[in-house]
């Protein structure tokens, strides 16, 4: 599967993501530039973490106007796989490719730590290699990860089974302490209704090697690649 990782001014997880996909997962991967107008024939576009445009205005608010994002929008509309990690998730929310918005973390702190999230379904393009209810240990690093959606939207997301990951304790129980940033319904990751666009706050590219303390992020990439 050919991946493309987009670099915006201020992206800082672009190379980690590129490395995880190309060197660890062994997939053909290209670097995409925000000012270009070509996706170079990739099967999956990844918007990486970081601080695109310095988080000016709101996290992800300016990146959505980058030239390449028009192609990304068209690609997503045709069913192409689009993944947003952390700041990339914020960009997808601002673009309207995913429902909802991000607020500042509940205790107003930048959180950089391992968290545990529960896979809510193993019948998605991004979690097909997970066991039902599997808990993944993946790091987060963000200031604005407190997921918010109006009640009607939230109900719709839940009814459609769009919630992909929820913050839980290591046993998969959704506790107040486990929901470190205060997200509504403990939402850590979700997909669009069609299931081809996914955003998540935890960084799977930082959990692909035992040296990094966890290999759970691989499950997400392996699900997408479809490797046994």
């Amino acid at each position: 599967m050919k991946f493309g990782v987009v670099t915006f001014p201020g992206s800082n997880c672009d190379f980690d993501t590129y490395y995880a996909l190309r060197d660890v997962m062994g997939q053909p991967t290209v670097a995409l530039w925000h000012k270009d107008h070509s996706l170079q024939g990739v099967d999956c576009v990844v918007l990486p973490g970081g601080f695109s445009y310095g988080d000016y205005l709101r996290s992800g608010a300016i990146a959505r106007f980058a030239p390449l994002m028009r192609e990304v929008g068209e690609f997503a509309a045709k069913g192409g796989l689009v993944v947003g990690i952390c700041n990339g998730f914020q960009v997808l929310l601002e673009l309207g490719l995913l429902p909802g918005a991000m607020l500042r973390n509940k205790r107003l702190k930048f959180l950089c730590q391992f968290v545990t999230v529960r896979c809510e379904s193993e019948r998605t393009r991004f979690t097909s290699r997970s066991r039902p209810g599997q808990v993944l240990r993946i790091p987060i690093a963000h200031f604005d990860g407190n997921y918010f959606a109006p009640p009607a939207t939230l109900a719709e997301i839940e009814a459609n089974g769009q919630v992909l990951f929820r913050y839980t304790d290591a046993e998969g129980r959704p506790t107040e302490e486990a929901n470190v940033n205060g997200s509504l319904h403990g939402i850590a990751g979700l997909t669009n209704r069609q299931g081809n666009v996914m955003g998540m706050m935890p960084h799977p590219e930082r959990a692909v090697d035992r040296l990094l303390g966890s290999v759970d992020g691989r499950i997400i990439f392996e699900s997408m690649i479809g490797r046994p």
Partner: protein, 81 residues
């Protein structure tokens, strides 16, 4: 023409920064402070635009870029003709 736009969280959205400021004010003894909501201010200088046209333009800019309508609301006023 100059306009000032105030973007703030909708009433239905919790504003933890405003709450923190409120708590700080209470710590200092300003007990009369009942609530604090924090927001952003934009001052935009418009050229060659009538007041009527600004009435269409400013809400459009605010909805599209300055505010995220899911969590924020805005008000605006002309500050210089």
């Amino acid at each position: 023409m100059k306009v000032r736009i105030l973007v703030s969280f909708k009433d239905s959205v919790l504003d933890p920064q405003g709450q923190t400021v409120k708590n700080a004010l209470h710590t200092l003894g300003y007990d009369a402070v009942r609530d604090v909501r924090q927001g952003k201010v934009f001052e935009i200088d418009l050229a060659g635009v009538s007041k009527d046209a600004a009435g269409t333009l400013i809400p459009e800019i605010s909805d599209k870029v300055l505010a995220n309508p899911i969590i924020e609301k805005f008000t605006w006023q002309v500050i210089e003709e």
